[in-house]
Symmetry: C2
DNA sequence: GTCTATACCCGGATAGAC
DNA sequence: GTCTATCCGGGTATAGAC
């Protein structure tokens, strides 16, 4: 992340960019709610009022941070999007990439889901998150043929699983050794493959459908 | 949740219990970091110092809150645990119940995963979360035969998926109408069924295994 | 563009009265 | 068990000097 070394001073550097980097750093450590302009200023060795020369208020900085987080994710997924492979493999690769991204940039994941600014009020955020959604949609459409409903169900299941694996990894459920990330990412990719294989079970059982009993949950 | 009505005063009621309920309420609205003893006291119409008669500090209250959250979840899952059904259906029912719990008690989910107190230091928390983990383990063991590795992989995939669906539901991805919860829970149950059906893909491809190409992700 | 100084609010925690 | 009073620290944001 730029040259945000601990001892660096930004008295005459690019404070705006430095603030975004430091905000991400801080959010990673303390969560969005625990982040403050004051602490960011302290780390950068500037006065508490300096940020107001670049951002109208705390939320404006957070919006810039959120947009950057989506851009980072899109960049991480780009290789999977560009690769020449079948939709199923591509979708698994996206899940793999997502988990790896979450592991490499836990702070950015926190930004993505904790900031919670209204997208309508900050168009920069909306624009930045579009490419990712588009890539997933293309894959599931190719896999499910015509039905929008099927495509949607599969996309949701894959997204849920990928985010779930990322969550578990960040919670330490895969251990803390050097290979934890790769294990988690690989399992997320495999679970995606399993979901694709069993995707006929995602729809309600049809009259002529040989699978299931009408309710997949079998709940009491 | 007890009698924590908006207008109620607890000057001579059970302030300890009322504080736990109000803390859950507040955490639901503002997250754990946004929760404060001061605000809880204000809502209950007591002095800011009153909580210290019942809890040594903020963390002690949060520990009590976390333990209660696990107890609530265990209670919600109890019917699924008690029902007479095959392991696959039971596991799907657990996923279903988890998502429903998350929807009905979003505040408790925040408590469960955001408080982040060290379990070692607060044994009350550790004890309260055991029953849930046990129920899941029993199901996956029954489904995967002898291998601990297979059971673990399946349990992780199911947990990831259930938490992912709950997350998406709370983010509003299933809409906000009256049936959103049931749709999300049902899809989580179906995705669980799909994972069980495709569970052979969760393990690395074996020499004699007719499935896959050696890497499920097919990533570039 | 950054500084110093300042006003103002909020949260945690304690002491001592009732 | 709860109150009032109080201390301390930290955050947002603004005004005006350089």
């Amino acid at each position: 992340m730029a040259s945000a070394g601990k001892g660096g001073r930004y008295h005459h550097g690019d404070l705006r960019a430095a603030l975004i980097d430091t905000a991400i750093e801080l959010i990673g450590e303390r969560g969005v709610r625990g982040f403050s302009l004051a602490e960011a200023s302290r780390r950068l060795g500037v006065a508490a009022s300096a940020p107001y020369a670049h951002f109208a208020d705390r939320d404006q900085l957070l919006a810039a941070v959120t947009a950057r987080a989506w851009e980072h994710l899109a960049a991480e997924l780009q290789p999977a999007i560009d690769a020449l492979q079948a939709p199923a493999e591509r979708l698994a690769a996206l899940a793999h990439g997502y988990v790896r991204f979450a592991a490499t940039n836990p702070a950015l994941v926190k930004v993505l889901y904790e900031v919670g600014l209204d997208k309508g009020s900050y168009p920069e955020i909306e624009a930045a998150e579009k490419p990712v959604a588009g890539a997933v949609l293309a894959c599931v459409r190719a896999l499910t043929g015509g039905s929008d409903q099927q495509a949607d169900d599969l996309a949701t299941a894959v997204e849920a699983t990928a985010r779930g694996f990322a969550l578990l990894l960040l919670d330490g459920d895969f251990g803390t050794d050097a290979h934890a990330v790769e294990r988690a990412a690989e399992q997320a990719a495999r679970a995606t493959a399993a979901l694709i294989e069993g995707r006929h079970l995602l729809a309600p059982a049809q009259p002529g459908d040989p699978h299931g009993t009408g309710s997949a949950s079998g709940r009491p």
